[in-house]
Symmetry: C2
Subunit: 457 residues, 2 copies
């Protein structure tokens, strides 16, 4: 079976355009930018994520024999083009912001420079990879702003949109500052710390809730978290006291209880009192169920004594903003600047750099998008990360990127960290960028006049 991340995981129009390019040898160098047009409502910034997966996709881009056999059998493509597909590799270069870097609308986050067909074919998957992890990493940082000193764990695999989404959500939320994920595969694949509790079914499969607790505690004594809301939350907390004493005699500590239903704040307050009165002051309270950054902030503002949160469906589906208004657009071909003019979707031409300036205290002060060859008055954010189809060593580890993200978030203006951010961040375009855009427009107008002349109104 052709794997789900095969090169055929693309839009048919990419192959159609490639065949047309191939037919007329249009393989001059093209430059494409990936960028976002708007921030989601209430968001002050976005966090770049997914670059590592883009780079491995480009490095390994090659049609398998199975894919080629399908393409030949489909009757959709000419023999000459099929030969071309057989030899297809990505030989271009990539400039990108580091994973974990905050960015803003209209800033190129990633730039691909390659022969036109190569840069075109990968469009669909590049957007697919960057958009999702950017959504999740950003949302994770917003949860961290809401609960900076709490244990935050991704619980969303089951409600994520498929296998890759669940796995990448674990990666991206850790990048964004979560403590870890419940998704086991994220440990071997990305070194993400993993966390787990127990399900209601475990309690229900036993004839007695306390027997279930003790059974679990003795089988899995490390990092013990007991789920107490299967029947009666406060009742379970009370009954737990005696059990905890017996377990303590054998050196087993109930590290936390988990509440997954009802009014989480109210239950947490009552359970905290019961645990404290019962001598379990060191046992933490972990909450889950329908949480996102807003709900967490509200619970903590209300004084809920909750020490950690499991954040699932609303994180892994980016429920408040499940997609970004993002694009991957041609900005140069064969040395000429290019842009499109579609209503509300005009783009900036040419090769760009994003330069970030900081104030004396190290806080971000504003970005400028400028031509690549303009002198940088600040920190250039786009770095060369792939050349001749190979990653430029050394690629940062995910742990490095996570540290970078935390450091960068510390430099954000406070107003942008608000969960309902109203303030904008200053991003301007250099005079030379404006001049280049005008130049591209004149070019477009000329060719339209020419076409009109030739074909009548």
């Amino acid at each position: 079976m052709i794997p789900a991340n095969a090169l055929l995981l693309t839009d048919l129009y990419e192959l159609a355009m490639l065949e047309a390019y191939h037919a007329s040898d249009m393989d001059d160098e093209a430059v494409f930018d990936f960028f976002v047009r708007d921030l989601p409502p209430g968001y002050g910034y976005l966090v770049a994520a997914g670059l590592a997966q883009v780079l491995s996709t480009l490095r390994d881009a090659q049609f398998s024999d199975e894919e080629l056999a399908w393409a030949a059998d489909s009757g959709r493509f000419g023999d000459d083009f099929l030969d071309y597909l057989r030899g297809f590799r990505f030989t271009g270069s990539v400039h990108a912001m580091r994973e974990g870097t905050p960015f803003f609308p209209d800033e190129p986050v990633l730039r691909v420079t390659a022969p036109l067909p190569q840069a075109q074919l990968l469009e669909t998957r590049i957007i697919n990879l960057l958009q999702y992890q950017t959504l999740i990493a950003t949302k994770a940082t917003r949860c961290v702003h809401a609960a900076p000193d709490k244990l935050l764990v991704d619980f969303g695999l089951r409600r994520a949109h498929g296998a890759e989404a669940g796995l990448m959500a674990a990666r991206a939320s850790w990048l964004g500052g979560f403590a870890g994920s419940s998704t086991v595969l994220a440990a071997p694949r990305f070194g993400v710390p993993i966390y787990g509790t127990m399900a209601h079914s475990f309690i229900e499969a036993h004839d007695d809730e306390l027997v279930a607790f003790e059974h679990f505690a003795r089988a899995r004594p490390q990092s013990l978290v007991l789920l107490i809301d299967t029947y009666d939350t406060e009742g379970a907390a009370r009954r737990l006291i005696g059990l905890a004493e017996r377990l303590a005699e054998d050196g087993i500590q109930v590290q936390a209880v988990r509440i997954d239903s009802g009014d989480l704040g109210e239950h947490a307050r009552r359970v905290r009192r019961i645990l404290d009165d019962g001598g379990l002051g060191d046992t933490n309270i972990f909450a889950s169920g329908g949480l996102d950054e807003h709900r967490i902030a509200a619970l903590l503002a209300d004084g809920a004594p909750i020490d950690g949160f499991g954040i699932g469906s609303k994180l892994d589906t980016a429920a408040d903003t499940p997609y970004l208004d993002c694009a991957y657009k041609l900005c140069e071909y064969a040395g000429e600047p290019r842009r499109k003019h579609s209503e509300h979707k005009a783009t900036w031409p040419g090769r760009k750099q994003v330069v970030r300036r900081y104030d004396a205290s190290g806080r971000m002060r504003g970005d400028r998008v400028q031509r690549e060859d303009e002198p940088a008055d600040g920190e250039p954010l786009l770095e060369l990360v792939m050349e001749f189809g190979e990653p430029v060593a050394p690629t940062p580890t995910l742990a490095d990127s996570r540290e970078h993200c935390a450091e960068q978030l510390g430099r954000l203006p406070d107003a942008l960290r608000a969960l309902d951010a109203q303030a904008g961040y200053p991003v301007d375009f250099s005079d030379r960028m404006h001049a280049l855009a005008r130049e591209a427009d004149v070019h477009i107008e000329k060719q339209q006049l020419k076409s009109s002349g030739g074909n009548g109104p």
Copy 2:
């Protein structure tokens, strides 16, 4: 690298519970139901989808050597349990509604019967697979209701949450009645018809829009769709007339033009007039950009002369309702009915059947959830689809399921087909189901009394 659909694609708590079950030989037969608690706002029904992927996951469930090596190295699990994981297979049975069947809250859509650890481990992935395709298939049927005679194509891969989401959206939207998808891989994997046009970058890479059109037309003359909104939509439509005449001389027909920006209805009206006046009455208009079922219905209600729609981000991310309130819950263990009582999350115990009744005209009249062994006064919807870990032949093809879905949608009460459905559909629980729930409650109360007595408040 461990593949993204490996058995470790699960929550850590599943493995923790398995180790506890293993430690005390709790491997009696368990029964779990997958069901949805509520319909999304405005939805009159949901459409079952994703069963084929669940069955192949269960059939192939086996830890790879790489996974086992990681589990051993992690130090998280005992040797005896690692041996158990090495031999892990799914040997149980599955009852399920056919893909394409409409269903309603609290109705089991899928039931797993297996030794407790087997039924438990697969929980996370079963929910992950069923939820997403159910969301997408349902949304696709709603688009079909909005535009029953139009060409509807899934364009969402780039904004889908990862590879699997994009691929499964193509599958599920075709199941729901779409004409096809732009996702190439859906053709070899699932036999989904694929469609493609061209990107703005193709136009921009040429010095002249008309030259780009002609180049594309001659390279890919079949099913020719030209994208006309890169610079000036109506201008491009006018200039196209002369080109179309020249192409027609060589037997090439411009099947459609595509509009992807601006006021789609207004542009479509103007372009229709231009094409009709220019003798291109047979050239269709295809629209895309920010579409969902509501927008499509509004465009058509407004008389927009649009013949087909490309539906992307809002379909593939199920943007209005990106996750379902769904669950996979234990309802029987070791022959005893089980349920949980958590606030607002109580579940129904026991093995169930869903029986659907129809009126004289074949329209659905109401469903009853009853015990499996009660006589069925209507059509039983849950069928045995897997036994002893192997699918029960023959599995319907996706094309069969698509036909079944269309047939079933024809039997829905009209009110449920509304995009903003207010009416409910009658689902009741048999007297014997109510009696069983009471029986399970008495059992829970007894054990709680017992626990309370033992440990004091």
